[in-house]
């Protein structure tokens, strides 16, 4: 269970950036895989965004 191989503190900025890029790439890959292409093609160019009005909390405890 213990991950003794991976160092904790000594990562270079280059390595970190590389890892970040790798994660971003994986996320984009999953996004592509899980996007419904048919639905995506059906949408026009513009996005249906929520209005920028203040959102009221569903419920709040005192």
């Amino acid at each position: 269970m213990v991950n003794r191989v991976r160092p904790i503190i000594h990562a270079s900025p280059e390595a970190a950036a590389r890892m970040q890029e790798e994660l971003d790439r994986k996320i984009e890959e999953v996004q592509k895989q899980t996007t419904d292409e048919s639905l995506a093609r059906s949408f026009p160019d513009w996005d249906l965004n929520p209005p920028a009005v203040l959102v009221r909390r569903r419920s709040a405890k005192p």
Partner: protein, 578 residues
Amino acid sequence: MADQVVSRADLSGINSSLRSLDHSLNTISNNLNVVAQQVAAVSMQVSSVEQQVEMTKNDLDRLAAEFREFVRQDALHKNLQLAETRLVKIRQELENKFGHYEEVRRRAIGILQAVDTSLVRKETIGLASEEQLLAAPRYWLAPCLVALSAWLNDNRELAERAVMEALRRDDEKTSLFFALVTRRGGRFRASSAWLERYLGQQDPNELKREIVVLVDAFANGIFGLEARKRCGMLIRSWLEELSQKPGFVEAQREQWKNALRAKAAALDPTKFPHLREYSPTWPQLQQALEGAHLHDIIYQYFNFILTQDVVPTKDLAAAVDQLLDVLVREFDAEELPLRREERINELIIQQNGDRQAAEQLFANERVVEERLDFTQLLTNFAMYPAESKASVATQKLAVALSKDWILEAHRDLTAENRNAVPLDIEITVDEWKGVSRDGGNEAELVEQLDRHLQEKKKEALKRNRPGFMNWLSLAAGLGFLWFGLETRFLLVVSAICLIVFVYGQIKSATNKKKIVREFAELFENHKQILLAVLSDIVDYRREYEAADANAVLIGELLEPVTPDQYVYSTHDSARTVI
């Protein structure tokens, strides 16, 4: 001697009386036999009556049980009939009041499937959606469908108006609906905005269970890279809000202390065998050492979480899509009282009229609806990932967000543990008791043990000395010898007494040697035990010190973690990027 004449007495009267008495006794005896026979007969009758009573009682019990069962069955039957009648009425009422909602839901599922597969023309979808809007004037889902179809038909104005109406009807559900639909359609920027709006409406004191899936999804980037950052900041604000509550910090600290403490592992039972056996302080020592080992366990645990790579999976996206399905099929708040009544009556019918069993089942179903405190959710994510179904990304996020409480709880545990370590360790070998702190006072303890055993030996030797009887036999022997010079018998007695005395002396001398030898052996044995215990103490102190030194590692590991770091793949990269 003078001759005496005794006259012959007449005993016939006495004889007669005795005969009469004998006869009377016979009569009484006969009468008693008769009475005994009658008593036996009565006894048999009583037994028979007892049996009959017992049988009657059994019959009565059976009858009562049958009656109770009959009453129960009757009640069940009536409950069943009542539930069936009520169910019909409730369903009629639901049909009358909310039948069109059900229709909207069915259409919504159909429309979503249609747009997913592009099998229906956009105009048809638009038409069907507008019809639903007319049929369900208060239901949030109807304008959502209109907005969706208007968006698909590139009618921005209508889409935005329909969205406003849907938000007016149910802002929370509409926001979640569009967050999920836009995600499915690959519109991640819009999806992020809708999700942020939805999360912004949540009360961190009582979150729905679906939040678990959503948090897991955005932490893994399922809602896009932007959503990770935006929603991450939003949930940080939940924590800030919760932190304002009085007693919150203390409660968190306690919650985390319990969670950390639960990771403690039992000490290897083969370790410190002598200390275990000969120290009454062992239970405290064991607890303290287990507490010290906890530092490493906790360190390894968090280190493992923080150094793992985040691997987004398709399963998470499927779970998010499932939420859309649930949301669309979900009953509206207006329907809920009737839907609950419908469900409980269904359960009563399912349980053949057993209302109690049905209510129990209903209560169990309601547990799923239970709401959670956000911080409890974070603790579950971080400490019980399997049970809470949290991915690595969510665990990282939970650790990062809870870092301050983890550190405080750990500091508390460390202080408590250090205070609980016994300064003096007691050692008990038989009746001897000694105390050592670090096992360094070996010479002093050996001397104490020796002194103790010498005392015991002295007592044993004292008890072994010839007793009063022995000296008495000597005195008697000498005395009888003095007086026995003329009498042979006394001489023999004197010899016996002197033999007893000599035997006593010899026995005492033999025992003395045995006692001296046994105490020498005992000392050697006890000394070995003592040395072994002292050796265990030295090992214990060393092990505790080494284990306790790991406490600082947790601070070093978690202190630099900031709540923004979860967005990065590994802990390493996060340190350098931030």
